[in-house]
């Protein structure tokens, strides 16, 4: 297997982009990555997109986007594993370059969520859960994570305030991110008193509905060096699945797929959690960030709330998590998230994160999760 580097990244401002269609958002973003990489062609492309069918009535977007990007007849593959599609697109592109099948691969993700009403968006997101045995009974995405939160609070004594601290930290980070959907700070009181969604979660515990895309160009490390590009290598990749319904998991507070994907990635990279300088994880809800921290081995089981409360996961803490603002503040165009996490890590490792910079970051990790944790993709990056 060849070593693989990320040589170009692209992302535009996320939010409710009324004037832009799915195609517009995608092409603008992909061109940014291609220009950043300075390449004049690509060999293959992977597009993560969850529910373009439900959101804009469009399937077959792999070809649609290759066409509109002006890249046809290049092979294009749409990847779907709920909200982990972006991370999976990166993994598949990585495998294609590492195996020697292609040299320059565009990995990307896009979601246009605001052309439908809140009802339909909730329904579309719900298709990532068990339709017949979870959604049939009236559960929603916030509801699934609320059930995890109640179980976590009951088992470990995690508090409502500790959950809120995750949102406070991520908004503080996001306020420094010019591309974030909600670049403003919030307080613990703001979070705890915001509109109820699924007890105990309030609206400020939940990531938003967002339009956006993210893209990256990857190639073999040798080519990156020839192009005189700073070399940010993908040194670890892991992917795992779990029971789709949370009632079927052995422990509702434990993200087994995240643990296994993390383990594979750490083993491949020959790194341990304490070797990682900066993390971008899937905080679709505040409780998710806490559970992910535990499953990735960043903290012991049950100790995540305490760690956040003590400021250990802040940008200047000893284990910075989500310097970009996370899904909470940056936004969550479902399938684009996984690539956006990689974009942030590459910026961090290249020293380009401005006010969000984690000092001296050389090794970074992204964790991208689908649904209520039934799929997870983890990548580890290192700056040479």
């Amino acid at each position: 297997m060849r070593d693989v580097a990320v040589i170009g990244i692209g992302m535009t401002k996320w939010g409710e982009l009324w004037e832009k269609s799915l195609r517009d958002i995608y092409v603008e973003t992909a061109l940014l990555a291609i220009d950043d990489a300075g390449v004049d062609h690509i060999d293959s492309m992977y597009v993560g997109s969850m529910s373009s069918g439900i959101f804009v009535g469009q399937e077959h977007i792999a070809s649609l986007l290759a066409d509109y990007l002006g890249c046809a007849p290049v092979p294009s593959t749409r990847v779907e594993t709920a909200c982990a599609s972006g991370g999976l697109a990166l993994r598949l592109g990585f495998m294609e370059v590492a195996s020697g099948m292609s040299d320059i691969v565009l990995v990307s993700g896009v979601e246009k969520m605001t052309d439908v009403g809140g009802d339909k968006a909730t329904y579309a997101l719900g298709t990532a859960a068990d339709q017949e045995y979870e959604c049939y009974h009236g559960i929603t995405f916030p509801g699934l994570y609320a059930l995890m939160a109640v179980a976590h609070m009951n088992k470990y004594g995690t508090t409502r305030e500790q959950l809120a601290e995750v949102a406070v930290k991520n908004h503080r980070n996001g306020s420094k991110n010019p591309l974030a959907q909600f670049p403003f700070e919030v307080t613990v009181e703001d979070v705890i008193n915001s509109v109820k969604i699924a007890d105990p979660l309030r609206i400020l515990d939940c990531s938003p509905i967002t339009d956006g895309a993210a893209a990256a160009i990857i190639c073999p490390v040798e080519m990156a060096k020839k192009l005189n590009k700073p070399v940010v290598k993908v040194i670890g990749s892991g992917h795992a699945t779990d029971a789709i319904a949370i009632s079927q998991r052995k422990d509702m507070t434990w993200l087994e797929a995240t643990y296994r994907a993390g383990k594979s990635a750490y083993e491949m990279a020959q790194k341990k959690p304490k070797d990682i300088d900066v993390f971008e994880v899937h905080d679709c809800f505040t409780i998710a960030e806490l559970c992910v921290m535990e499953a990735l081995g960043i903290v012991e089981k049950g100790k995540s709330g305490e760690a956040v409360e003590k400021g250990r996961t802040a940008i200047d803490g000893d284990m910075p998590v989500n310097p970009s603002g996370g899904l909470k503040s940056k936004g969550h165009p479902v399938r684009a998230t996984g690539i956006a996490q990689a974009v942030e890590i590459v910026k961090q490792l290249s020293g380009e994160s401005e006010e969000r910079q984690v000092k001296g970051a050389r090794i970074g990790l992204t964790q991208n999760m689908g649904g209520s944790g039934a799929s997870t993709v983890v990548h580890i990056f290192e700056k040479e």
Binding site: Y133, V150, K196
Partner: protein, 131 residues
């Protein structure tokens, strides 16, 4: 949003709690499966799940999906049935303040939702307090 055939196919589970069991692992599956995820056994045997259990987690849905538009807020929980099988379902006939992990509940037949004014009525199980 189900079609009549998708709804009808799950009736043995929704109306009668029909499940199946791997006799090698002694594990019950609800809904029934074609292959045991623990040991790969493909000869699973018909059974039913217990009708009573205890709550292991609960939440109150305030922002419902469209087919439950007029029913929010309502409680949903995961219940560990007395035979060890976990089931997700709504918890009704009790005040939200009384919901707690460990509370004993039992299954009752209810109407879950209707598919609009002219679509089919969808029935199934919910949980009520078992006092």
């Amino acid at each position: 949003m189900s079609t009549p055939s998708r709804y009808w196919r799950e009736v043995p589970q929704r109306y009668r709690l029909e499940a199946n069991k791997c006799e090698k692992c002694n594990k019950k599956f609800f809904p029934p499966r074609l292959i045991c995820p623990e040991c790969g056994n493909r000869e699973l045997v018909k059974t039913k799940i217990a009708e009573k259990g205890k709550i292991i987690s609960h939440t109150i849905i305030r922002v419902p999906p469209s087919q439950y538009k007029d029913q929010a807020p309502y409680a949903v929980g995961v219940v560990e049935m007395d035979d060890g099988v976990n089931v997700m379902g709504q918890i009704v006939d009790c005040d939200f303040e009384d919901l707690e992990v460990g509370m004993r509940v039992k299954i009752e037949f209810r109407k879950l939702f209707s598919q609009g004014h002219s679509g089919i009525l969808c029935y199934g199980y919910k949980f009520v307090p078992d006092s």
